[in-house]
Symmetry: none
Subunit: 192 residues, 4 copies
C-alpha cells in the first residue's frame, strides 16, 4: 500500500472516469477528448494529468475495465463444453474488441507491455483470457495431447486472427464467428 489515497482523490478520479464513460457513450472511444472530460467533470486540466499519465492511460483503464467486466460475464456460470459454446461465451468480449478499429488497435498495442513495471489493465485481461479458457479445456471433448494452457494460447491467437480479418476488406465475406469456429474446430479437435 504505497498510497492509501484520500477520499477526495478517489472522488475526483471517479468523476473523471464517469465523465469519460459518458463522453464515450455519446461519441465512441476515438472521439474522446481530454478537454471534454475535464469540462464535464468540472475539474482543471492539470488535475486530469495528476490522475492519469496521459489520455491513453485513461483509455487503457476504461477499456481494461470493460474487458474485465466482459470476462467476468464470460466466466460466470458453468463453463462451455463445446466450440460453439466457447464462441458464444466469448462473443460479447470479441464484439467489444472489434467495436471500433481504434479500440482494436489500442488493445493490441497495449496487450503486451514493454516492461513488467508497465503491465497495464489491458495486458492483464490477456492473461485472464488465457486463464479462463485454460479452465474450460477439461470440460469438452478436445485434444488432450497438449496442455490446456497451450490450447488456450491457441484460442487467443485464432481469436486475434479472426478479429483482424474482420477489419479486412478481402475477408469480410466470412464473418468473425464462422471463421473463428473453423479455426477452433481444427485446433481443438481430439487427436485419434
Amino acid at each position: 500500500m504505497i498510497k492509501p489515497k484520500q477520499k477526495r482523490t478517489l472522488e475526483t478520479r471517479a468523476k473523471l472516469i464517469a465523465q469519460a464513460k459518458a463522453c464515450i457513450q455519446e461519441a465512441g472511444y476515438e472521439a474522446l477528448r481530454v478537454e471534454d472530460v475535464v469540462a464535464g467533470a468540472g475539474v482543471a486540466k492539470g488535475t486530469f494529468f495528476a490522475h492519469f499519465r496521459d489520455k491513453d492511460a485513461l483509455m487503457e483503464i476504461l477499456i481494461g475495465a470493460e474487458m474485465d467486466a466482459l470476462l467476468d460475464q464470460a466466466a460466470a456460470g458453468a463453463g462451455p463444453t463445446d466450440v460453439e459454446q466457447i464462441i458464444s461465451r466469448l462473443h460479447p468480449l470479441h464484439s467489444f474488441v472489434t467495436c471500433e478499429r481504434y479500440v482494436f488497435d489500442l488493445i493490441l498495442r497495449y496487450s503486451g507491455a514493454a516492461a513488467v513495471a508497465e503491465i497495464g489493465p489491458i495486458a492483464m485481461t490477456f492473461g485472464r483470457y488465457i486463464e479462463l479458457v485454460t479452465g474450460w479445456m477439461p470440460l469438452g471433448d478436445y485434444r488432450k495431447d497438449v496442455s490446456a494452457d497451450l490450447l488456450a494460447e491457441g484460442v487467443q491467437a485464432f481469436a486475434v486472427q479472426a478479429m483482424a480479418l474482420q477489419f479486412c476488406a478481402l475477408h469480410q465475406t466470412q464473418r468473425f464467428d464462422k471463421r473463428f469456429a473453423r479455426y477452433l474446430k481444427a485446433w481443438l479437435a481430439p487427436v485419434s
Copy 2:
C-alpha cells in the same frame, strides 16, 4: 499503360525513397519524418504528396518491399519439410516484422486493407505468406484432416501470437522461435 511516367518523375520518386531508406537506417522507422525526407531529397513538401498518397503509403511501400524480399528468400529453394525448417525459413521475415514495435503495429494494421480497392503492399504480403506456407504443407508429415490453406492461416495466427508476446515483458523468458515451435508442433501434428 496506366502510368507511362516521365523520367524526371521517376527520378524524384527514387530520390524520395532512397532518402527515406537513409533516414530509417539512421533512426528507425518510427522516427521517419516527411520533413527530413523531403529536405534530404531536396524537394518541396508538396512534391512528396504528389508521389505518395500519404506518409503511410510510403511506409507501406518500404516495409512491403522489405517483406517481399524476405518472402522471396523464404520461397527460394526446396520447401521445408518439418516444423524446424519452416521456422528457420521464416525467421528472417519474422525478425524484420519484430524489429520495431512501431513496424509490428503498422504491419498488423495494414495486414487487412480497409477496402478491397485499397489492398496495399503489406496486405499483399500476408496473402503471399499464406500461399507460400500452403505450398509447404504437402511436404511434411503434417495433419491432413484440414485443408492446407487453413493450416497456413493457423501458422500465420501463431506467428503473430508469438511475435506479439515477443514485445511482452511477461513472456520474454521464452523466446520467439521456441514458442513458435511449440505452437506449430501442436498445430501441425498429424492426427492419428
Copy 3:
C-alpha cells in the same frame, strides 16, 4: 539574402503584427495573448509559431519597433544643446519604456543578448541610443575630458537608474525627469 520571402508570407506576418498591436492598444502589453492574436488575424496557431519563435520574440519585435520609432523621433531635427533638451528629446522614449513594469522588465532582459547570433531588436535599440546620444555630445557645453561615447554610456546608465527608481516606492517622491536631470547635470558638467 537568405530568404527572399514570398508575398503571402509577408502579408501573414503583417496581419499578425497588426492584430497584436490592436490587442495591445486595448489591454496593454502584459495582457497580450497568442490565442487572441491568431484568432484576430484569422490564422492558425501553428502559423504564429512558424513566424515567431515564441510569444516573446513577437514582443521583442513590437517593442523594438516602437522604440525604434521613438528613437527616430528623438533623432529628428537639430540635436539638443543642453541637458534639459536632451531629457525632453528622450522623454517619449523613456516614457514608453516605463509605461508598464512588464515592458521595462522585458526591455532590460532583452537589452543584452547572450550571443551575437541572438541580438534582437531591443538590443539593437540600446546600441542606437548610445550612437544617438554620442552624436549629441559635441553640441552642448559638456565635459570634454572623456570620449563622447563614454558620456553616452553614462547617460544610458543614469536613464536606467532613474527609470528603475521610478518603479520604486521609496523614491517616487522625486519623479523621473527631475532625478535624471540631477544625474545628467553632474555627469555632463564641464570640468574646470
Copy 4:
C-alpha cells in the same frame, strides 16, 4: 516582540531554507522549484507557503542574505581610497549579482520595492550599497562639487550598466572590472 515563534516553526523554516540552499548549490537559482524544496525538507507544499508569502519571498531572503554578507565583507576594515580599491572591494558583490542572468534580473526587479510597505531584503541592500559608498566618498580624491550621496547613486548606476553589459555578447570584449573602472574614473574625477 512581533513573532515569539515556536521552536518547531523555526526548525521547519530552517529546514526549508537549508534545503533551498542545497538545491541552489546543485542546480543554480533559476532551477529552484518549490516542489524540490518541500520534498527535500520533508514537509508539505502548503507548509512552504505558511512560511514564505511566495517563492520570490524565499528567493529574496536567500539572495538578500548573500548580498548582505558580501556587503558586510565590503564594509569591513578601512574604506577604499581610490577607484581601484572601490572596485576590488565591491568585486565579490558584483560577482555574485552577475552569477546568473536570472539572479541579476531578479535583483533588478526587486531593487525597487513595489510599495513602501513591502521593502524587502534586496531593496534594503541597494540602500546599504548607497550608504556604504557614500561613506567612502570623503576618503578619496574625488569630485566635491556634488553630494556624496549623488556620487554613490552614480556608482550604483554604473555598476548596473557594467553588469548588464557583462551579459551582452556585443560587449564582452571588455570585462566588467575594466569597464566599471572607466566609468568610475570619469564619474568620480575631481573637477578643476
